[in-house]
């Protein structure tokens, strides 16, 4: 039970607050439904992309291991140190119903053999394959970065919104309504008490005058 003063002013205030809470509740409910809709459209894409990335990672590791085993770890490492053309991409922020998510535009990750920073003659085809596999992996990672983060943010926001909706629906609004009911009962009671008191005084006065 909420502690309230049983006054008329308090009742008016409470009624206003209940109305506001109900409006907020409706709005939050709509937000939650919108977020879930958004989430479901992204989920399918994200699932495919993440699974693909995991597969690509396995393939890339295998190929690299093979290249290292055949050409020697030191050779591969020294070539790795020679590479300095970084994969490029631009990042923006997008706002989905108050949730900030990254939008990534990939520019140039995959390169042909000639564009790489090492010579073709001194290296083997296995290394080329490993590098290609890793380029694909990085490409996939960039895609995953966008979708997975979006997904995570949406989930968090859905959870938060849901909690607020439920708190309003099952806790805040019922409590305030109960308080309002209590006040109106109390006011009625006081009214009745007053009437009885007046009647008593009236009969007392009538007796005195007799």
């Amino acid at each position: 039970m909420v502690e309230v003063q049983p006054t008329r002013m308090e009742l008016i205030k409470l009624k206003r607050r209940i109305q506001m809470a109900k409006r907020g509740h409706a709005l939050l409910k709509m937000k939650r439904d919108g977020l879930i809709m958004e989430f479901r459209t992204i989920l399918e894409d994200a699932k495919a992309v993440i699974e693909e990335m995991i597969k690509k990672y396995e393939v890339a590791r295998e190929k690299l291991a093979l290249a290292m085993a055949v050409d020697g770890a030191i050779a591969v490492k020294s070539i790795a140190l020679a590479c300095h053309a970084e994969p490029k991409f631009t990042m923006k922020r997008k706002n989905i119903m108050g949730v900030v998510v990254p939008v990534i535009k990939r520019e140039k990750v995959r390169r042909s053999v000639y564009e790489r920073d090492y010579g073709i003659i001194g290296t083997s085809a296995r290394l080329d394959e490993a590098v290609s596999a890793y380029e694909e992996l990085v490409d996939a990672i960039l895609e995953v970065a966008e979708l997975e983060t979006t997904l995570k943010r949406l989930i968090e926001e859905i959870e938060r919104t849901k909690r607020r909706v439920n708190a309003l629906e099952y806790k805040v609004i019922p409590e305030m309504e109960e308080a309002a009911k209590f006040i109106s009962f109390k006011l009625e009671e006081m009214d009745r008490e007053n009437i009885i008191r007046l009647k008593k005084i009236k009969t007392k006065k009538a007796k005195e005058q007799q």
């Binding site: 879930i36 989430f39 479901r40 989920l43 699932k47 993440i50 990335m53 995991i54 990672y57 890339a60 590791r61 690299l64 290292m68 591969v76 490492k77 070539i79 790795a80 140190l81 590479c83 300095h84 053309a85 970084e86 994969p87 490029k88 991409f89 631009t90 990042m91 922020r93 900030v100 998510v101 990254p102 990534i104 990750v109 920073d117 290394l127 490993a130 590098v131 890793y134 380029e135 992996l137 990085v138 990672i141 960039l142 995953v144 970065a145 966008e146 997975e148 983060t149 997904l151 995570k152 989930i155 968090e156 859905i158 959870e159 849901k162």
Partner: protein
């Protein structure tokens, strides 16, 4: 134009070096992981951080939360199915059903 950074052990990193990524953090011990993550979060030019799955357990919870919340850089967990499991669990908790299948 943003860059990719990689946090992992030297074996993990070689492949990423081959693609031309320069911001590679070779880490071994737990402290190094934490230091690398903190360092990478401060940097302005890094847009995406690739981190190896098994290092994730070594990062304290508060930092993990910060990683989850930051947009620039965005963290991507690579290696193993660990990240998928976490995501599944989150979906189950938020929606109430496992939508992943």
């Amino acid at each position: 134009m943003k860059k990719i950074a990689v946090i992992g052990d030297p074996d993990f990193n070689v492949g990423f070096r081959l693609v031309g990524i320069r911001d590679v953090y070779d880490v071994q011990s737990d402290e190094e992981v934490v230091k690398a993550v903190e360092d990478v979060m401060k940097r302005e030019d890094v847009g995406i951080v690739v981190i190896k799955n098994e290092f994730l357990d070594k990062i304290p919870i508060s930092l993990r939360r910060e990683m989850d919340e930051s947009v620039e850089p965005t963290f991507v967990i690579v290696g193993g199915e660990g990240s998928v499991e976490v995501l599944k669990e989150k979906i189950r908790r938020a929606i109430g059903v496992d939508l992943w299948k």
